[in-house]
């Protein structure tokens, strides 16, 4: 399982790549593995607002439907539109080509609540027990 060092994580298995007041968001390698083959995706549109801890979209594998939870509150400034036609990209490359949305976040203090790679790894390991 892969936990890139330059990312922040949530307990709902999203990752964030924070740069300035923007964050790119996707789901983790662990999440895509647990879901299995991803076959459908619903994402917000540019201009929509998302709220930390609330659902911003839906990902469906062959077997299951899962909500996507926003790691930070803010405005959606970019959406990875090609993913809708190639949701398997999330399985193949969850941290790069499989990114989902870019958020301009409104409350920088929320970043502190995110997990660092070591803490997220520990969380995943504990969850597996």
């Amino acid at each position: 399982m892969n936990f890139p060092e330059d990312l922040k994580y949530t307990r709902e298995h999203e990752w964030c790549r924070v740069k300035g007041n923007r964050a790119i968001v996707g789901i983790t390698d662990h999440a895509q593995d647990a879901l299995g083959d991803i076959v459908y995706l619903e994402l917000p549109e540019v201009g929509d607002t998302v709220k930390k801890g609330e659902a911003f979209g839906v990902v469906e594998s062959t077997k299951a439907v899962s909500d996507l939870f926003a790691p930070l509150s803010g405005k959606v400034v970019e959406v990875n539109d090609p993913l809708a036609d190639a949701p398997e990209t999330i399985n193949e490359d969850p941290y790069e080509e499989g990114w989902m949305i870019q958020v301009e976040f409104s409350d920088p203090s929320e970043v502190k609540d995110l997990l660092d790679p070591a803490a997220y790894r520990k969380f995943v390991e504990e969850e597996a027990e």
Partner: protein, 361 residues
Amino acid sequence: MALRTPLYDVHVRSGARIVEFAGWDMPVQYAGILDEHEAVRTRAGLFDVSHMGEVVFRGPRALESLQRLFTNDLSKCADGQAMYGCLCRDTGGIVDDVVVYRRGAADLLVCVNAANRAKDFEWLRDHAGGADVRNESDEWAQLALQGPAAPGVLQKLTSVRLSSVGTYRFTTGDVSGVPCLIARTGYTGEDGFELFCPPDRAAALWDALLEAGKAEGAAPAGLGARDSLRLEMAYRLYGSDMDDGTTPLEAGLGWVVKLDKGDFVGREALVRQKEAGLQRKLVGFTLTDPGIARHGYRALRDGQPVGTVTSGTKSPSLGIPIGLAYLPAALGAEGSTFAVEIRGRAAAARVVKTPFYSRKK
């Protein structure tokens, strides 16, 4: 704690993801559902279906007794032939859908769904009119080798001439030294075999089949692929698409209900239902809007709930969302349109002919 098949350790060792299904710890996937689905459609997949149950009718009254409990006509089933049908209650409600393997008029094996092992055995025993009925579910393991390469792979391991075993026929013989009932049956829509064998030999048979199928690309396949494969064929799944509260006529299984074969449990109710006309029926549909319909979603017409989705997925072979739903009979004709409520949104759907998928000839 969930039950385990004799192959549980083999699955864990093979890296399977285990989920609980019908009270059993079963492999839902190995390499991935889409890969396994494709293996079965294009090469061969090997399933552990040992969770299925086996109830055996024996003795002079076996045939007559089972004939009274089964909707299909066993007088048309030759020795060495298998027949699909339903067990019904007096109300016409489905106790289970089963496959009967007629070894002889005095020896019939009924293969039942895992979740219904105890229910079916009790039902059959209590309504058998004194015939000898035994629950042999723990005495059999069951492996299903399915896909276009299945006959070639299996032939390497047995001296039984498989070309002489037709569809829905069976025989007995050794496979890699393991005594088996070898049936040309399955739940995938592909050519293939189901092998009933002693539980303590199941692991050896499993390994031998995968080894023999290496060159052909045979792969272990889990319940996830089994579900998407059966749904592409519109094969019904007991507990999802039908239950004690639905009749075979409503479930679109009228073709295995022989009302003219003589009396059987449920016949009267089914005759009445047929004469009165069906209120609802199970239909195949595809979504014409984006989304995936799932079990339990509501079917809408003009914004009003009119029915329920019982199965749904994105068809791996066809790449489109497919499903089964109960709709009012008047809305069930091919081409009829309705909507499926997906997270508060109405996704347009159209009734289509089934099966969704046809085997490559």
